[in-house]
């Protein structure tokens, strides 16, 4: 363990503060899913991944992360900044003109830590598989991590990728589903039901594990377990239950805060629920 669970929880608390302040600062963006994945991305970057903040595109010898549901960019930007890819003071530029922190992640502005644009949904898993295949060709034993939204699985390209990875034994890949059951128009079960995701992925040939994405101890254990399953001929799927808006009570339990920014009063309320542990940017 590089950090204790308490330390990781403290970092995640600061990440949550960053998220609500960034979204409030530009009065746009997606706080709900970002808050839900704050614990996961903290665990990934501060504990599970072997990576260097001295960024280069190829990332040889490093574990790489791909965010397919690019709209939760605030949580990724915060975690990248807090882990040292760039100065946290740059978070204030989120979604503002001439920023490197575009509404959805891009390589176009050369923000360290980002290797592909995402935002138009359903493309990230394919890209992650390509990066995983390149690792194999390069005899590079490090791993590829990917995060996908659950609603995003309604995009057909995902199922092309889900079919491809087991057939081609892409076993250096750990994909995680942010399983919060919410999307813009409402609960996923009402918009277009995902049915039994575990059974679906298993039927396609993935090794599926489940985790609680808002329990730091559980996430860390799940990620270490997932890593132990790599190299055994099958891709790994971490079906991770999360709560959209996790950590801010009035944002939880509904799709309402998928893509809405808090006003001044709501910001103060949210920050009152989140400890500042690494100093606000």
């Amino acid at each position: 363990m590089k950090h204790t669970i308490n330390e990781l929880e403290d970092i995640a608390s600061q990440v949550r503060r960053d998220i609500v302040r960034m979204v409030h600062g530009c009065q746009s963006g997606h706080p709900g899913g970002s808050l839900g994945c704050a614990d996961f991305l903290t665990a990934l970057y501060f504990e599970a991944m072997n990576h260097s903040t001295d960024f280069n595109m190829e990332g040889n010898g490093e574990d790489l992360f791909f965010l397919s549901n690019g709209h939760i960019s605030p949580v990724w930007y915060s975690v990248l900044a807090r882990s040292g890819y760039f100065d946290p003071s740059e978070l204030v530029t989120f979604r503002k003109l001439n920023t490197r922190l575009q509404g959805h992640p891009t390589t176009h502005e050369h923000l360290p830590g980002i290797r592909i644009a995402s935002g138009s949904l359903g493309q990230g898993l394919s890209v992650a598989i390509g990066a995983a295949l390149a690792k194999k060709l390069n005899k590079d034993k490090s791993l590829i991590f990917a995060l996908l939204g659950d609603g995003e699985l309604q995009e057909g390209q995902n199922w092309e990728a889900i079919m491809f990875a087991p057939h081609n034994k892409v076993d250096n890949l750990i994909a995680t589903i942010d399983y919060n059951g919410q999307q813009i128009d409402g609960p996923t079960e009402q918009v277009l039901s995902l049915e039994n995701l575990q059974a679906k992925f298993e039927a396609f040939g993935w090794h599926v594990i489940t985790s609680d994405g808002n329990d730091m101890d559980n996430i860390v254990k799940a990620l270490h377990y997932a890593k132990s399953l790599t190299g055994k001929g099958r891709p790994i799927l971490n079906l991770m239950s999360t709560q959209m808006g996790s950590g801010v009570d009035f944002m939880m339990g509904s799709h309402k805060w998928h893509g809405v920014a808090p006003n001044d009063e709501q910001l103060a309320n949210a920050l009152g629920q989140l400890n500042s542990t690494l100093q606000d940017y």
Partner: protein, 318 residues
């Protein structure tokens, strides 16, 4: 005195791609290939036999193929994707836009069976809009080759170029008339033959027809300057302007919709730099249909005679 272009054999441009891919693979170990269940049609067998571990059979899943190709570049690979032009562009436009073009990934999108000359399969497979789709993407290089040798040379050249490329070629067996040792320079026009009365700018399968048209026009006493624009983007503006300053008018010829193709690129250039009469030999905003390649080229106005008539017409408009 006009140059005499002859040929000793006929081959398909897609075979030039296959041969070029093999050679590019031999030159650079980072070259990898992907195919969406059309290995035979794309002539990728030789590459696969030589480099089995550097080939990825994706299955009938073109969107996934583009995404995987983008991911492979991150590990330093130079991926060549292969499928029909229709499935290489329209079907996967957003994947190319976000994961390749906007992300500036070094993917080579190689598209066979472009245009009407795909033939009997009909309009579902005969894309006539792909040049337009691809040239609109910022940073995308767009190449349409004219014979076996040029396609082979272009395939090798794009492997050595850093950045996203759309390489368009086709199915029919056509004269091999470009020199086998002719260097392929991305973005550089090829002066096929010089003339003073009219400029004919042709791309892809229309280049041989432009040469035939040049011979027929010469018999009528009209000296046509024939330029092959194989790289539609970036366009060799200097070569085009230089020629039309001399001839004063232009015919563009392409196996593509008149909207969005080479002709429009030339028109955009001329409208700002050198307003000149222009005639378009292109498909008149239509889908194709089933038929033999020759029948279709005739029916849709893409024959040698159409270039000849367009040249006669445009000269009168000077």
């Amino acid at each position: 005195m006009r140059k005499k272009y002859t040929y000793t054999e006929k081959k398909d441009t897609r075979s030039g791609f296959g041969a070029g891919l093999l050679e590019a693979g031999k030159k650079n170990p980072e070259v990898v290939a992907l195919c969406a269940d059309l290995v035979g049609s794309l002539k990728m067998d030789a590459f696969i036999k030589e480099f089995p571990e550097r080939f990825f059979q994706i299955g009938i899943a073109e969107a996934n193929m583009i995404g995987i190709a983008a991911g492979l570049t991150i590990g330093g690979k130079i991926p060549f994707t292969g499928t029909f032009a229709n499935f290489s562009t329209g079907r996967v436009y957003d994947q190319i836009r976000q994961s390749v073009a906007y992300s500036n990934k070094n993917v080579k999108i190689c598209a066979s069976h472009a245009g009407l000359t795909l033939g009997e399969d009909g309009a579902t497979h005969q894309i006539l809009e792909d040049i337009g789709l691809m040239k609109m993407l910022p940073g995308m290089t767009v190449i349409n080759t004219c014979d076996y040798n040029q396609t082979k040379a272009a395939t090798i050249a794009i492997a050595e170029y850093e950045g996203p490329v759309y390489l368009r070629f086709g199915r029919p067996v056509l004269p091999v008339f470009t020199p086998a040792d002719q260097k392929f320079e991305i973005g550089k026009a090829w002066m096929v033959d010089e003339g003073t009365d009219v400029t004919i700018i042709a791309t892809g399968h229309m280049v041989w027809k432009a040469i035939e048209a040049g011979e027929q026009l010469a018999e009528m006493g009209i000296q046509a300057e024939i330029i092959n624009i194989h790289t539609i983007k970036p366009l060799d503006e200097e070569a085009i302007l230089k020629s039309i300053r001399k001839t004063g008018c232009v015919v563009t010829a392409e196996e593509h919709n008149k909207f969005g193709g080479l002709g429009e690129s030339v028109a955009r250039l001329l409208s700002t730099e050198l307003p000149s009469p222009q005639e378009f030999v292109a498909v008149n905003d239509s889908f194709g249909e089933s038929g033999t390649p020759d029948q279709l080229m005739t029916k849709y106005g893409l024959d040698t005679i159409n270039i000849v008539e367009a040249a006669q017409k445009v000269i009168k408009r000077k």
